[in-house]
């Protein structure tokens, strides 16, 4: 069944897009990540212009994170105060990101900027996860590892504007969560991803947040950064395709439910190993495309920019 996408101005197979939404939703339900890092390359692969893939993906993530937060909220796993501080940074980061996006688009460098940031972030995070999870699996076989220190004091914790976050039992500089939020916001705008795969480790390792609150709180602020990104992308770059977002959404919501159920049959380390393998594979594929000679050295851009 073909469906015409009004903003992308192309016709796609609705079942294919629904299936992609399902697959990414399944993985995000299984591993607890947004899955944007997979969806944007998939959309580009089926011919959606990168700029529209990114803008639309931000819109779809609003819905995904709302439904995710609801589950965490009911269990009381959201630190609203910390989330709001992250958000303050996040909105600034998003605005800066959308602005950079527009400049790069006019310069004709947006495609390579998107690909490069994917290769960099997916490569680094995926590689680190791959090492960590393989070690954890090896350690499982030889369970002698000793527990590390609960809290390490580094220079980041000496920053000014200290704030007390009762819910997370933290007394830290407000600049830290705000800074993490700002980086997350920029990722939303430039890469079209929620940034959960970057926010979650940052909140665990830099803020020393209780692990139970991390997913809910990061999703909470992702709602707002993705909403801001959608709004700004629609207003400045006109790259949000509501039709495409709707299709992805339907597939994603259903896929996530199956993924959540499948995850209960999977061990933590095994799941992380599987996820990091996928992340690294995507990074390698994108890097390969960047360095191998393209079929046609010339590309067209409509309009003046």
């Amino acid at each position: 069944m073909q469906v015409y996408l009004p903003i992308a101005e192309m016709s796609v197979n609705a079942l294919l897009v629904l299936g992609m939404g399902w697959l990414v939703g399944f993985l995000s339900g299984m591993f607890g990540v947004g899955g944007g890092f997979l969806m944007t390359p998939l959309l580009i692969f089926i011919g959606v212009p990168p700029a529209i893939a990114v803008g639309t993906q931000a819109n779809q993530l609003v819905a995904a994170s709302v439904s995710g937060v609801l589950a965490h909220w009911r269990r009381g796993n959201v630190d609203v105060k910390l989330g709001v501080v992250m958000l303050a940074g996040g909105v600034v980061g998003t605005a800066v990101g959308v602005w950079i996006f527009g400049i790069l688009q006019r310069l004709g460098q947006i495609d390579i900027a998107i690909t490069l940031s994917y290769v960099f972030f997916l490569g680094t995070i995926g590689g680190m996860m791959l090492v960590e999870s393989s070690r954890a699996i090896l350690r499982r076989r030889a369970p002698t590892a000793k527990r590390g220190k609960l809290h390490r004091h580094i220079w980041l914790h000496g920053l000014p504007f200290k704030m007390r976050f009762q819910r997370s039992k933290l007394y830290i500089s407000a600049l830290l969560p705000a800074g993490i939020g700002a980086v997350g916001g920029m990722l939303v705008a430039i890469m079209g991803i929620g940034g959960g795969f970057l926010l979650v480790p940052a909140m665990i390792y830099l803020l020393n947040m209780p692990a139970g609150l991390v997913a809910g709180t990061s999703l909470f602020q992702i709602i707002f950064t993705t909403a801001a990104a959608t709004l700004l992308q629609a207003a400045t770059n006109q790259t949000v395709d509501a039709m495409l977002a709707l299709l992805l959404l339907i597939g994603g919501v259903i896929g996530a439910q199956f993924g959540t159920r499948a995850s209960s049959r999977l061990r933590g380390e095994t799941a992380r190993l599987a996820l990091s393998t996928i992340v690294v594979a995507v990074a390698l594929k994108l890097a390969w495309d960047l360095f191998s000679r393209p079929d046609d050295l010339f590309t067209l851009t409509m309009g003046v920019r």
Partner: protein, 261 residues
């Protein structure tokens, strides 16, 4: 048979005049009334291509008559707009866009159909004057470039347009039914750009164009997809707000629906 058809037409024309529902017939009547004055008359099976949500491309039939033996060429040109062509070069091992050239007046769509190969019909000056065929298409640029550079960009532009299916790779065929009646099918792919198209029919006789007729064709988004794209273009901020609110509602509904599962 042709003669009988044209003769009975004017009376019929009077009968249907004013009936808006029979606009197609009325058009036929106009054709008949003016056929004596013009050497070439052509019309399209439809003057509007509607891009709906289920649009997968369409075909429009062009038909017409000539006042005697001759050859016919049809040129379909989409609305002209600027296009930037960018060239990738290897920078630190990566392929990235380095140079670009802006073409100011690029037809978004271009296809030609002929009844006989063009080189058998007319000489180069006529081809160039009429911009008949891709090599003759005028594509002005905003910069001064060495000729070989310009040629590389120009052929890249045409090649990319052909890959998108918007410029025809080979010429279409105009078929003659008898000596005077001709028709051809013009195919428009799913990614056809919207706007006002020009369909030009040329009558070629003795190595020159002796008569020409231009028919407009509108390609427009209709229905839901039109509303979405108009909304996004004319009220981008409100569109963004609506997209966000819609997503929040959808996420909420999904979260609530699967709570019980």
């Amino acid at each position: 048979m042709m003669a009988a058809w044209t003769k009975c037409r004017p009376t019929r024309r009077l009968a249907v005049q004013g009936a808006a529902a029979l606009a197609g017939l009325l058009l036929g009547g106009t054709v008949a009334a003016t056929v004596w004055a013009q050497q070439l008359v052509a019309d399209l099976s439809s003057h509007l291509i509607a891009i709906t949500t289920g649009f997968t491309g369409t075909e429009v039939v062009l038909f017409g008559t000539t006042d005697g033996p001759g050859d016919v060429a049809i040129v379909v040109t989409g609305p002209r707009a600027p296009v930037t062509v960018r060239r990738k070069q290897r920078v630190a091992g990566m392929w990235m866009n380095t140079d670009s050239v802006r073409f100011d007046q690029v037809p978004s769509f271009y296809t030609v159909a002929v009844s006989r190969p063009l080189d058998q019909l007319v000489g180069r000056p006529v081809l160039e004057r009429q911009q008949l065929g891709l090599p003759q298409l005028q594509l002005p640029v905003d910069a001064t470039l060495p000729p070989e550079e310009l040629a590389a960009y120009r052929s890249a532009l045409i090649r990319n347009k052909q890959r998108q299916g918007l410029y025809a790779i080979s010429m279409g065929q105009v078929a003659f039914l008898g000596e005077r009646l001709f028709r051809t099918n013009i195919y428009f792919p799913a990614n056809v750009p919207t706007g006002l198209y020009n369909v030009e029919a040329l009558l070629i006789r003795d190595g020159d164009v002796v008569s020409a007729q231009t028919t407009p064709l509108v390609v427009s988004k209709i229905g839901f997809s039109a509303e979405v794209s108009d909304f996004a273009r004319n009220r981008p901020v409100i569109y963004g707000v609506a997209a966000v609110l819609g997503a929040i509602a959808a996420g909420w509904a999904a979260g609530a629906a699967f709570r019980r599962v």
